[in-house]
Symmetry: C2
């Protein structure tokens, strides 16, 4: 069975998504601790999400976006723009 080698792209997506979350969080004036608290996500897990080290679930994305006042789709647009340009 042939395997699609998407590992490199996948890592890139996680990093770009983490950067998009961090940028939006700072724009909204939240500390990482405050966002983690409000979104009910463990603080060290939030740090790993922002560094692209965790395969974040859609519900955590929804919770983060709820606090930051952004549609999940829009956050992903930012991530995809970042991943194309950087």
């Amino acid at each position: 069975m042939q395997r699609i080698s998407a590992a490199a792209d996948d890592t890139g997506y996680l990093i770009a998504l983490g950067q998009a979350i961090r940028a939006l969080r700072k724009e909204r004036g939240f500390s990482q601790e405050a966002l983690a608290h409000e979104a009910h996500i463990d603080r060290s897990h939030m740090g790993k999400i922002e560094r692209g080290e965790r395969n974040v679930t859609i519900l955590n994305i929804v919770r983060i976006c709820l606090i930051l006042g952004c549609a999940p789709s829009q956050l992903l647009v930012h991530a995809e723009e970042g991943s194309r340009s950087g």
Copy 2:
């Protein structure tokens, strides 16, 4: 500590996302089995994702979108439109 009650919205998002995946899959002419195989996702897990019964990870969304030829952000736009209208 005050808790944000987002459970109902969360469930709605998973259901809308699953419906968006199913709609796009059918539009692209994939069976559920074929999509699961191509995206390297267990077939029964794929069924649960489409029914909104699983908290899908971003990497599985990326893999599904890679096969279906759709940006992850665009899939979420479809989910959010579905969740608003339905």
